[in-house]
């Protein structure tokens, strides 16, 4: 084993794509560019999931994040039009204090990540995970699963109630 293998190289490419898109989301001054950078981040994270042998979660990520949440966000950007004026204006918390806070938090977390000897096992060969996840949902995690369906129903009704137009009869 010498040098960097093809799998490692692919991992680095996907990770760099993810991070560059996330930088675009965080630093772009136009909300539309941020929304489209978010697409790159979500797809990159889905790629990372595939590297982590989580095929089902990767597909769910593409379906729900890219197909659902991102489309919803772009709709919201378009509905609250005046796209050009809604700029990043940083009056109360400027960029510099925010960078400082983020640097402190990230520094502590980096120390924790790199300084801890994580318990680690040799990863097994990737195998289809759908069967085990389905068993988990309807076995050990049946109560959270049912609660999540109630939460989704409440969110559905809540979103409809919040976003409908009031009919004012005057």
């Amino acid at each position: 084993m010498s040098g960097v293998g093809l799998g490692d190289l692919l991992f680095y490419i996907v990770a760099v794509i993810t991070i560059i898109s996330a930088v675009g989301v965080a630093f772009s001054s136009n909300i539309v560019y941020s929304a489209f950078s978010l697409l790159g981040t979500f797809m990159g994270v889905a790629g990372l999931y595939i590297f982590l042998a989580a095929d089902f979660v990767a597909v769910i990520q593409v379906l729900i994040y890219v197909g659902g949440i991102l489309v919803l966000m772009i709709f919201a950007v378009m509905l609250t039009h005046r796209i050009a004026d809604v700029r990043v204006s940083n009056r109360s918390v400027g960029r510099l204090p925010a960078l400082l806070i983020v640097a402190c938090v990230a520094g502590v977390m980096a120390k924790a990540v790199l300084g801890t000897g994580w318990h680690s096992i040799p990863p097994g060969t990737p195998s289809p995970s759908t069967y085990a996840i389905g068993n988990g949902f309807l076995g050990d995690y049946i109560l959270p699963f049912e609660l999540a369906s109630v939460v989704l129903l409440a969110a559905l009704i809540g979103a409809v109630v919040l976003s409908r137009k009031e009919l004012k009869e005057e």
Binding site: A26, S34, A54, L72, A76, V86, N90, V102, P123, L156
Partner: protein
Amino acid sequence: MSIGLAHYLVVSLVLFALGFYCVLTRRNAIGILMGVELILNSANVNYLAFSRFSSGQYDGQVFAIFVIMLAAAEAAIGLAIVIGIYQTFHTIDVEATETLRG
């Protein structure tokens, strides 16, 4: 050195830091929601990385799916609130919505 747990944790850390920065600096409500999505994604990467490299079980994947589910609910409600704010205040700048300030 082959790809291990630390690589994924570092990627997730960078995603978290960018999302946190986004939440702190954006004054656009949709931008803040995008930052929250970045943070949730970084948490998911952590779940799956620990699931693969530390436990070998599928519990991490199950929890990642729960996180995605709740992120979908959060995005739907959050964006509905943003639309409501826009209809009331005609802006989605979170600095402008200070009616409750005494």
